[in-house]
């Protein structure tokens, strides 16, 4: 998956959007299903992939029973093609590939299985593939996040969520850096330098990357190329006031200054009791609460993601 040579040339069927954020309970699954419904309403074909292995519940947002066909079939001896596992959701233009509920733990997935999954994912016949990633910073989560065309991180205005999100993006960046260095044969040199980072006066990963650029002249253009596409989309969920909305802009600043990561503040969704109600009623929010401001905000978010646009401020 990290073969730098062919990543650009690979023809992809659909755009892959992955949503993660480190912390659980921030509304990832809700938001992803809602974004999918909005895309589908605009006549796009959408496949939702529930990659929250062990905690898969995306089907519940469509009032579906526990699915019989899950990713287990892809990973176990059956070896079913990924496309066969997509099942209808009851909403036009959207199907769902469910994560496994019990039998396999994500630790048992081998590296080659993962590559096979990514290969098939890229060949799914659909316009959009939306991947729901679970909480935490497991390598499977990081790698899946990294193959996405749009790496979306969701955060809520709570310091714990901010902390986990920062840690998550840092882990993704480390992973990307590690894979890049490995692919180009600089892994050992970089590791030695990393171990000496304190004596070199480097306090964070951004400074480390800048240092690598300066020290390893051959590596510099490769690093630039690989990291140029490293762009993270920030979404703030459950906002209650303007301070909360500003959080996205602040995070963008922090990510840029301390991780050297380019971020786009794509949107925010206000806290809305109707969301909780729709989940309890098991009726998709985006089909039943169209008049709510939060559903409008989700629409704007999706449009921003498509067009690479940022939140438009009230005053500008």
């Amino acid at each position: 998956m990290e073969k730098p040579k062919d990543s650009a040339a690979k023809p992809r069927e659909g755009q892959i959007w992955a949503m993660a954020g480190g912390k659980g309970g921030t509304g990832k699954t809700f938001l992803l299903s809602s974004m999918g419904i909005h895309l589908a309403k605009k006549q796009n074909s959408v496949i939702l992939v529930d990659f929250d292995l062990g905690g898969a519940n995306l089907h519940s947002f469509f009032n579906l029973a526990k699915p019989s066909q899950t990713l287990t079939r892809f990973f176990d001896k059956t070896g079913a093609p990924l496309g066969d596992l997509a099942m209808p959701t009851g909403v036009d233009n959207i199907s769902l590939i469910s994560g496994d509920l019990e039998s396999i733990s994500s630790d048992n997935i081998t590296f080659s299985q993962k590559l096979k999954l990514f290969r098939q994912m890229m060949k799914l016949h659909t316009q959009y593939i939306l991947i729901d990633l679970g909480a935490g910073c497991h390598n499977n989560t990081l790698d899946t996040f990294l193959i996405a065309d749009k790496m979306i991180t969701l955060v809520i205005p709570e310091i714990t969520a901010v902390e986990n999100m920062y840690h998550f993006i840092k882990s993704v960046l480390y992973r990307k850096l590690k894979m890049t260095l490995k692919a180009y044969g600089f892994k050992d040199t970089a590791r030695q330098l990393w171990q000496k980072r304190e004596s070199l006066g480097l306090t964070n990963i951004k400074e480390f990357i800048d240092y690598l650029r300066g020290q390893l002249v051959d590596l510099a253009p490769l690093l630039d190329k690989e990291l140029a596409g490293f762009k993270v989309y920030i979404v703030v969920n459950m906002t209650r006031d303007n301070q909360d909305i500003l959080l996205g802009a602040s995070l963008k600043s922090l990510l840029h200054k301390f991780l050297g990561v380019q971020a786009i503040y794509a949107g925010y969704v206000e806290h809305d009791d109707a969301v909780w109600r729709s989940i309890r009623e098991r009726r998709p929010f985006m089909l039943n609460y169209l008049a709510n401001r939060s559903s409008k905000e989700i629409e704007i978010l999706v449009e921003n993601l498509i067009q690479n646009k940022e939140v438009q401020w009230l005053w500008s």
């Binding site: 301390f258 009230l314 005053w315 500008s316």
Partner: protein, 196 residues
């Protein structure tokens, strides 16, 4: 100021090359708050952020803002057809120019209602946004700015409002309260002498 310098100053404020004066002011305020020592958002990244680096960021933001204000000012001056700016982009200090230099330096100034209004407008903050954070009703805010003292609440409440309002504009609350309440007291002496 060359376009190149201007662009790098705008970059410090995390803005694109086409940013407006209002955007510059908002970005400045936001970054200043974010990188102030007491910002809660900084704790998760504490290990990546030395105190020295934090202060350097604050300084960079401050300097970029100062240069950008001057450059916007020069621009306004040129487009008015007035005399060209001094080389080097030094901010003109003469009277008759735009509102920025009328409201600084802060120490020599009395914070009357209209001055507060000018500060607020120069930050591009509409009243409803201030209401959002401070929960002071828009009519009350208007009365404060217009010095419509008859419409204002008791001194104790007024003081609380002023402090919240001043904090929102990043002004020194103590100075604002002191200045404003003095004006309020003067008015009271004339209009409501029986309360004295």
């Amino acid at each position: 100021m060359s376009d190149r310098n201007r662009e790098s100053d705008l970059e410090v404020l995390e803005l694109g090359p086409q940013a407006s004066l209002t955007e510059v002011k908002n970005a400045y305020l936001r970054l200043k708050r974010l990188y102030a020592g007491d910002s809660a958002l900084l704790s998760p990244i504490a290990q990546d952020l030395s105190e020295e680096k934090r202060l350097r960021i604050l300084l960079e933001v401050e300097e970029a803002y100062r240069r950008l204000l001057a450059s916007f000012h020069d621009e306004a001056h040129r487009s008015e057809g007035g005399g060209g700016p001094a080389p080097g982009g030094r901010p003109p200090t003469a009277a008759g120019a735009s509102r920025q230099e009328k409201i600084s330096p802060a120490e020599e100034l009395t914070f009357s209602g209209p001055v507060l209004k000018r500060v607020r407008e120069s930050l591009g903050l509409p009243l409803h946004l201030i209401f959002h954070t401070t929960k002071i009703r828009v009519e009350q805010l208007e009365a404060i700015e217009e010095e419509n003292f008859a419409k204002l609440p008791d001194e104790a409440y007024l003081k609380v409002h002023l402090m919240a309002y001043a904090g929102h504009l990043s002004l020194n609350p103590k100075k604002i309260v002191q200045d404003y309440l003095k004006r309020y007291a003067d008015w009271k002496k004339i209009h409501r002498p029986e309360e004295e």
